[in-house]
Amino acid sequence: MNHFIDLTLNGIANGAIYAALGLSLVIIYQATRVVNFAQPALALIAVYLAYAVYLATGSYWTGFAVALASGTLMGVLAERLLIRPVHGRSPLSAIIVTLGLLLALQGAAGMVWGNGDYSFPYPMDFRGRFSPAGAFGLGAVAVVTLLLFALYRFTPLGLRMRAAALHPESARLSGVRVGLMLTAGWGIASAIGALAGMLAAPPFLSPNALDAVFVYGIAAAVLGGLESPFGAVAGGLLLGVGLSYVSGYAGPELTTLAALAILVVVLSVRPDGLFTRPVARKV
């Protein structure tokens, strides 16, 4: 029974990280209909900057703040400089631009900080079965999800962002600066991506530290349905716990295969993900 509890708790802690990355992918998808493959690389650079600040100042939380700030800034720059020019074209162009950015940023991280492992601290004490660090991860993701829900549902900025994403022309006619909303979407999403990076990086940071999280983050976003933030969080937790059971009872080498199996099962039942209202496609 203990083993089962360990697997579940470990699954939830990992699931929170997949949820955070899934969340950032959903926000960007909702805003610009683009799956941002560069998100893990943006998060990686943010985490490396946080690590440099942590080494210089000795305070983890200063580094944490730098990660979120630099994540936001990089998201804004990526949208404004790279995604905006290919905005009108086929979705493939945007996907390939994000792929190029992924390769370039991961290589750049290797260039500046080398390809070795750095010891990277947990946010809080990592000891104990359900450690404060694990709790912080889950708590942070929960808070972020609620903040996002409130932003989208109750604030003028949220309404503008949704209108800009759903019907750009009507939004413009109502005085919404659509371009600015897309940039804001990328900024917020990259901040959450940086949070996911700070949760996923410990214990060792290297240019490839976020590779595994990258695949599971996309799987979480797709599982939950790319339309709702709650979907990504639910998808992330479901995936985290599911993979933990598989690696616990069947062997860790099967986790990637299990992710495939979970995805196929869910998508065959709900082709648009768990939490998406089946939208009738306009004929």
Binding site: L92, I95, A104, G107, G110, P207, I218, E253, L257, L260
Partner: protein, 358 residues
């Protein structure tokens, strides 16, 4: 104003006169589809033969690499370019082809190469059918996400059955080199390059012929507007699965060529990066034509090498030099997609048109 009127008046006569006046190009277009493709394939094979005979084994290996990447990208091109289904899973089909070849060579060494290759294609098509059926109702990012999971998940099968599939060390085997009759004339690596290109070109002929025919038109209809295609009576589901089957067959054959060429099938060769770079090569080269697939394949093999040369030339520090090729590939990818929306082929044909137009 006058010239357009004249053209309208005598359409039949004009085309006859025009094709004669345009000489070989006219002749070329008037050939039926299949012989034209076969001729092109033979010309390409001759070119490869000449190229590999004047250069050393290393270039022959790289030329062969370009060959099987071309096939994999062309398969993806059919899926993405024609039927609009964005799949990130072609690396998985290469995995299937490579392992089918490895297992057959190890367990049925007497089977001739052609049979091994056909078995690989069959395995790939079967997998393509399964994946196509499972993902028929998915579209856009959901399809991309599912195929991404396939590309990452499938190689784990080799880890699960270490004794049969060799675990993380994979399978390795030695293959027949050049037949004794030609041993003087042709080196082993050159022979393998020729065999790879022979298989690739044959597959491309099949690919080009089908995409010209009815199936190609159906797939393009689906790409443009799935709902409209359905109302026009095109069996959307079935066509999508057929597109997947052909694309998977090409990917699997490419994997088989890789295994044949390198004498190995190892899980760590079929990473997520492989599937992503196949898609990148496709867009880099230019959607919509086999030439685009060629430029993409060349980029896959030679861009990182160029990055390495650049890093060596600038005598950079070790960290920078080690990572330079990857950064170089990423930057080139972004620049080309932004500068030339239709990829290298799009830019070349525009250049061609503007030259001819003047």
């Amino acid at each position: 104003m006058a010239s357009s009127l004249r053209r309208k008046q005598a359409p039949a006569a004009a085309t006859a006169r025009a094709s004669a006046r345009r000489g070989p190009a006219g002749l070329w277009n008037s050939l039926p589809v299949l012989p034209r493709h076969l001729l092109a394939a033979l010309a390409a094979l001759a070119l490869v033969a000449v190229l590999t005979s004047v250069t050393d084994g290393l270039t022959a290996l790289r030329v062969a690499n370009v060959g099987y990447y071309l096939l994999a990208v062309a398969g993806l091109q059919l899926l993405v370019g024609f039927s609009g289904q964005i799949s990130l899973g072609n690396g998985a089909f290469m995995f299937i082809g490579a392992y089918t070849t490895a297992l057959m060579v190890l367990y049925t060494p007497m089977a001739p190469l052609a049979v091994v290759m056909l078995a690989a294609v069959a395995a790939g098509c079967l997998a393509g059918m399964l994946v196509g059926a499972a993902t028929a109702r998915l579209h856009g990012p959901y399809l991309a996400g599912a195929t991404l999971a396939l590309a990452v998940g499938l190689p784990a099968v080799a880890l699960r059955f270490p004794d049969l599939l060799g675990g993380s060390n994979g399978l390795f085997f030695s293959l027949r080199g050049a037949p004794p009759a030609l041993s003087g004339l042709v080196s082993d690596s050159q022979w393998k390059a020729l065999v790879v290109w022979f298989v690739v070109l044959l597959a491309l002929v099949v690919l080009a012929t089908t995409s010209r025919g009815r199936l190609g038109r159906r797939m393009r209809a689906i790409r443009d507007d799935e709902a409209a295609a359905a109302t026009a009576g095109i069996p959307v589901g079935r066509t999508k699965v057929v597109a997947f089957v052909i694309s998977a067959g090409c990917g699997s054959l490419a994997g088989a060529c890789q295994a044949y060429l390198l004498g190995t099938a190892t899980p760590s060769s079929f990473t997520l990066a492989l599937s992503l770079s196949l898609l990148a090569a496709l867009v880099l080269g230019g959607l919509g034509s086999l030439w685009g697939a060629l430029w993409g394949a060349l980029a896959l093999v030679y861009l990182e090498l160029a990055g390495e040369e650049l890093a060596h030339a600038m005598g950079l520090g070790s960290n920078v030099a080690n990572n330079a090729p990857v950064v170089f590939f990423g930057v080139i990818l972004i620049v080309i997609v932004m500068a030339w929306p239709l990829g290298v082929q799009g830019a070349l044909s525009r250049l061609g048109r503007s030259l001819r137009g003047r």
